[in-house]
């Protein structure tokens, strides 16, 4: 572990930025290409673009935001992991609960995904 105190600052090298940028271009262009050209069936495409988004978020976190185990003595990483857990609970929990409420409370609207009056 290096002793340099200002290594905590979110610096980066030209190389990390370029690697991050190239990976991001691939992970952005890929999903758009899949969706516009209808390469796979909708379910496979949905899975593929969600995976690409998660990977790209991680790439941005490492290459652009420079989060690693040693920045700020690990506190940025800890805060990041904690926030990620909260974000997942809020989003997945809301979707799960509201999906079940919809299917239990509004039978004429089906699952709520095709609610056309």
């Amino acid at each position: 572990m290096s002793h340099a105190t200002h290594a905590a600052a979110p610096h980066g090298s030209r190389r990390t930025y370029l690697i991050g940028f190239l990976l991001s271009v691939v992970l952005t262009a890929g999903p758009f290409w899949l969706v516009i050209n209808h390469v796979f069936d909708p379910q496979t495409t949905a899975l593929a673009i969600i995976v690409a988004a998660v990977v790209q978020i991680l790439v941005h976190t490492v290459c652009f935001l420079h989060v690693n185990t040693s920045s700020e003595g690990g506190w940025t990483l800890l805060a990041y992991a904690f926030t990620a857990v909260l974000v997942l609970i809020v989003i997945i929990g809301s979707l799960w609960i509201m999906y079940h409420l919809n299917s239990n409370m509004m039978p004429m609207m089906g699952s709520g995904m095709d609610a056309q009056p």
Partner: protein, 204 residues
């Protein structure tokens, strides 16, 4: 503050570990960004729940224009790397390079906001207003909150350009630029979620 005036039985830390002030600010700003992420999480959750409630209004497939979204995504991604180059120029102590890259980043950000406003005005002219359906309310809230963040980022960028012109690359300005760097890259991370979950999954 001298140590000998303090008795041995103190219940507080008399000698703080001497971090430079920049480190504390950067960590604090990071915590702010994480709380901002929670705001976006609630907006994403709201959109996720309401994204099927059209109330007779248009569906995502009818109103989203993917080429425009792809253009906006590209602009924001390029603005991320140009901000990175500004940070590298700052590390090398090049004031001119830093200002030039920052100005390019600001222009790209302005283009992003401009295209988004154009998209919004097109939607509203087509009758897809926030009042039309729960889906559109959630859509406009989520995307406009992100756009508002980018707009404030541009404002901050302009302020930093003025500060750099007046005072150069002194440590305080460097610290501010690092905070803005995190802010700018964070907004790009949020946009990954927007273009994936709102636009791409919407038209699927």
């Amino acid at each position: 503050m001298s140590a000998e005036t303090v008795p041995d039985t103190t219940f507080f830390v008399t000698e703080e570990e001497h971090h430079d002030a920049g480190g504390a600010t950067l960590l604090g700003f990071w915590i702010y960004l994480m709380s901002d992420a929670l705001i976006f999480a609630t907006l994403f959750a709201t959109y996720g729940v309401l994204s099927g409630s059209f109330a007779g209004g248009p569906s995502p497939r009818e109103i989203f224009e993917l080429p425009l979204v792809a253009l906006n995504t590209a602009i924001l991604l390029v603005s991320s790397i140009t901000y990175g180059f500004a940070m590298i120029a700052m590390q090398e102590g090049k004031l001119g390079g830093t200002k030039a890259w920052l100005a390019i980043t600001g222009l790209l950000g302005a283009a992003f906001v401009g295209i988004e406003l154009y998209e919004f005005s097109t939607l509203i002219h087509e009758g897809a207003t926030p009042q039309t359906s729960a889906f559109l309310s959630a859509f406009f809230t989520l995307v406009a909150t992100h756009g508002l963040h980018v707009s404030f980022g541009i404002l901050w960028l302009v302020v930093m350009l003025v500060q750099l012109s007046q005072r150069g690359l002194h440590p305080e300005n460097q610290r501010r630029l690092m905070c803005l760097s995190m802010f700018w890259h964070f907004l790009d991370v949020v946009w990954i979620g927007v273009f994936t979950f709102v636009y791409l999954l919407g038209v699927l």
